[in-house]
């Protein structure tokens, strides 16, 4: 019984943390869908937005700071798209990938310049006492974070599926040149994709920041998005969600059950282990698109 309750508790915790991984992965998915570019700067954008938020809160209060951070992320996204990516239309994906690495360094450097290198705490006023269900404890703040992530994901799915810009984004994801040929303005749609990615980065930065504090290691959490993307499929929003949950649960269960025997540290490997298995059996991920080919 105890083991079972423990397993359930770990699973629930895993799901909740997994949704936070999904948030990071989602930023990658948005840019990848729009431009087939793996945006190395997503982690830096997360850090940058969280630092901006934390920096603004003491000056203007939480809500105004949130609005300010959203606006600043919009500006960052638009500038990045205009200055770095638009001139590279038609370049090889590797060139564009390198541009995202450059963007990551610029954002990290700029954030340090403006907000300093000190780690910051971010208090969202989420409850600290756990929720008790029988013998199972669940963190309320994790529950709320996961709820926020869930709502954001639902909104994004509706946006992609039912709006004109969403249709444009899906068309571009499918065939960029054909999308241009039917009159979809790549520049506008890209700008919107970058703004969305910036917004997702902000939400992820906020939720992660309240969990582990805002500091430079945050851009490394982005690396956790890699296994999530491999498992879920890099061009799929539901894939990011499911992949995130799988990684979260695998980590929690691995640490809880295998960890004690090997002296801990299992958590950090689990994600990559699962990703490796997926690479072997389903390399395009659960929801990834195997190309439709007529024969």
């Amino acid at each position: 019984m105890n083991d079972l309750a423990f397993a359930v508790e770990l699973t629930i915790t895993g799901v909740l943390i997994g949704l936070l991984y999904s948030m990071i992965a989602l930023g990658f998915v948005l840019i990848f869908k729009a431009s087939s570019v793996f945006n190395f700067a997503q982690g830096a954008m997360t850090l940058f937005s969280a630092l901006t938020l934390v920096g603004l809160i003491p000056l203007v209060g939480f809500w105004l700071a949130l609005v300010g951070a959203v606006l600043i992320m919009c500006v960052v996204a638009l500038v990045a798209e205009r200055v770095a990516f638009r001139p590279l239309i038609g370049s090889s994906p590797l060139v564009i990938f390198m541009a995202t690495i450059g963007l990551a360094y610029i954002l990290e450097g700029f954030a340090q310049m403006v907000w300093g290198t000190q780690p910051h705490g971010l208090k969202l006023g989420l409850p600290v006492d756990p929720l008790k269900l029988g013998s199972i404890f669940i963190s309320k703040s994790d529950l709320i974070s996961a709820g926020v992530a869930g709502v954001l994901v639902a909104l994004l799915i509706v946006f992609f599926q039912y709006t004109k810009i969403g249709l444009g984004l899906r068309a571009i994801a499918n065939d960029q040149i054909a999308a241009q040929s039917v009159g979809i303005d790549l520049r506008k749609v890209w700008a919107i994709a970058w703004i969305l990615a910036g917004f997702v980065a902000l939400v992820a930065g906020m939720l992660w920041g309240s969990r582990i504090g805002v500091h430079f290691a945050m851009s490394l959490i982005a690396l956790k998005a890699l296994p999530v993307l491999i498992i879920g499929g890099i061009e799929s929003i539901p894939g990011a969600i499911v992949g995130g949950i799988i990684v979260g649960v695998a980590e929690a269960l691995g640490e809880g059950f295998i960890g004690p025997y090997v002296g801990g540290g299992v958590q950090d490997v689990m994600a990559y282990l699962v990703a490796l298995i997926f690479l072997l059996i389903r390399p395009y991920g659960i929801f990834g698109q195997a190309a439709i080919e007529r024969v």
Partner: protein
């Protein structure tokens, strides 16, 4: 009538190094239907992409000459702007959004138009292609080649274009389907007043529905004329029907070469002897 499209001395270069068009001259009359013929690699697709400005994605650029659409220069304009202005290219190989449904594909065609005209335009497309109405919820990637070509043409109609650039609509289709598609293209030209520039390797089919044709070879217009004239022309026939009287295949360049030699011979005779 004034032409809806006019290209003068157009040169196109890929990667700033590879010249593909060397001074192309071409025009499409208002509400006209014109064929652009020529073998593989003659520059037909490049010509269409120069008009619709889809060259940039392939690192190509118009380096010289002018392209006028309804009298105004359009070289270097954003492709989305050109679609809004009324130029729509149906690309070679159909290039559908395979992961989107048929109807979603059609809706992407209307991306540059106000959503108020959407349902009327869909209606029009389904009227021309009733088969697509049955398949509207299917993923486009799973349609047959002929149906995919119908979606590609239907998608262009959704943009309410004035000039449609069709790149090899016959590619990979059975002759009966080619006939059906070409019939529809002809109808669109006649009934909707659509101007059409049709790039085709299938010269016999193309010349049967167009009014005028340009024959390209090696980045230039090698010959032009009304469709019946081109149909009768011996060198076009030799080239496209594939065999000369001697029964051997010849490249268009070889045929022209022979013609030029003969002309030079005559000149020399007239001048010298």
């Amino acid at each position: 009538m004034s032409p809806i499209l006019q290209m003068r001395g157009v040169e196109v270069c890929y990667d700033r190094a590879i010249h593909v068009l060397h001074g192309l001259n071409l025009h499409v009359p208002e509400k006209g239907i014109v064929a652009l013929l020529g073998p593989n690699g003659a520059g037909k697709s490049t010509t269409l992409k120069a008009i619709s400005n889809l060259l940039k994605a392939e690192r190509g650029a118009v380096t010289n000459g002018s392209i006028l659409f309804e009298g105004s220069p359009i070289v270097g304009k954003n492709p989305a702007f050109l679609v809004r202005s009324g130029i729509f290219q149906v690309m070679e190989g159909r290039r559908l959004f395979t992961q989107l449904t048929v109807e979603e594909n059609l809706r992407t065609g209307a991306y540059s138009r106000a959503s108020s005209s959407l349902s009327a335009n869909l209606e029009l497309v389904y009227q021309y292609f009733p088969r697509l109405a049955e398949r509207r919820r299917q993923k486009a990637g799973y349609l047959s080649g002929g149906e995919q070509q119908m979606v590609a043409i239907g998608r262009s109609l959704m943009a309410q274009p004035k000039l449609v650039l069709l790149d090899e609509p016959s590619m990979g289709l059975a002759p009966i389907l080619v006939q059906e598609i070409f019939g529809i293209i002809q109808n669109l030209n006649k009934q909707e007043g659509l101007s059409v520039l049709l790039a085709e390797q299938n010269a016999v089919m193309a010349l049967s529905i167009v009014q005028y044709g340009f024959v390209m070879d090696n980045g230039r217009v090698a010959m032009e004329g009304p469709a019946e004239e081109l149909r009768r022309d011996q060198s076009v026939k030799e080239f496209y029907l594939g065999a000369s009287e001697k029964g051997e295949h010849q490249s268009y360049a070889a045929i022209l070469q022979r013609k030029r030699m003969a002309a030079r011979e005559r000149q020399r005779e007239a001048a010298g002897h």
